[in-house]
Symmetry: C2
Subunit: 208 residues, 2 copies
């Protein structure tokens, strides 16, 4: 009686946090932990940076292609910033959700808020540094930026952190393992929410 | 700047499920896994059964005492069924929540719904058997009950399962380890909810 028609759909997870919060590292650990999670790769018109791989870091496409994709409604969301276009291709996301994969959108603030509006069923998680001091220390620790660049990133982080309250969950990145385990717990909990359990027919009692 | 005033309050967790769903066993495993969870011990006017220990299984008290506790508002909820009174003493719950412990109320359906109404911040979890067949097999497996008693328990379970949708989470008890891990994940996720993170000052950025 139970599970016969069980075809679980995946979660769409919006994952944001300021530069230096450690989003990439934490997601890397999460993907090691859970094979039921996949990363959505954004499309962009900006040029690849050294070491970036097409289809892995981004789908690098021309402005013409980007424009065509917009016309064909192939993006869940798209935006223009830092003189380039960025967008989330719809097909990958929808196919994976239908196959029961949890799709993670690592996305900046504006994009995150747009996805939340368009896909209200999504789960939104903000990765927070433990404090300003730790964030600044991490940015300095990269050793690649000038004082001025660090000050500029801290200012941007302050703007991003103001939107923290728009997210459903806040995960504090004290350690990578803890933060990844915390996200994994959020996924398990969300999959146990009553509405989802019924929708996915995880339990299927005749008389309900 | 962060964590200075961090004093996390615990979660109040209403935990229900039909007889035979394995609530006691799953909770036993959960308490082994997490020292931040405690079991709320109910008070009752019924006589202890063989092996039951006062203060562990129940606080066994007289009707007079029970009545006094009601007058003094010492119960979060109380009810009368099977010819005896049952209630959840308030003080233990509140002290433990204030000390950051997650307090689990293993409670029958009516009590659970009453706590949800009175304490809307609580987290409610329903432990479901995977199917009717498994539930019936588990009840038969106890080997202590007649066919008639099992039929009566199954009928009661059907009533209880109708209330499943009133709970926030449904955990399917396929195995004890899985179910306990699932509850543990729900606890971690609930502690990461944005409102709670701010209330508990887990993050504490000045400009928010």
């Amino acid at each position: 009686m139970a599970n016969e028609e069980n075809k679980r759909s995946g979660l769409l997870i919006v994952f944001s946090g300021p530069a230096g919060s450690g989003k990439g590292t934490v997601l890397g650990r999460l993907f090691e932990m859970r094979s039921d999670c996949v990363n959505s790769v954004s499309a962009t018109t900006r040029a690849p940076r050294p070491g970036e791989v097409n289809g892995v870091n981004y789908h690098f496409i021309s402005e013409e292609t980007f424009n065509n994709w917009i016309s064909q409604d192939l993006f869940i969301e798209w935006d223009h910033h830092f003189k380039a276009y960025y967008g989330t291709p719809r097909q990958f996301v929808e196919e994976n959700l239908n196959n029961g994969k949890n799709v993670i959108l690592e996305i900046d603030d504006n994009g995150g808020l747009e996805v939340m509006k368009k896909m209200p069923d999504c789960v939104s998680i903000f990765l927070s540094p433990p404090s300003w001091e730790v964030l600044e220390a991490r940015l300095r620790g990269r050793g690649t930026e000038t004082d001025e660049q660090i000050a500029s990133r801290m200012l941007k982080a302050k703007t991003e952190i103001k939107h923290m309250k728009d997210y459903q969950y806040i995960v504090v990145n004290n350690t990578v393992d803890e933060a990844a385990a915390n996200i994994s717990a959020i996924i398990d909990a969300e999959l146990s929410k009553t509405a989802r359990v019924f929708k996915d027919k995880v339990v299927n009692f005749d008389n309900l």
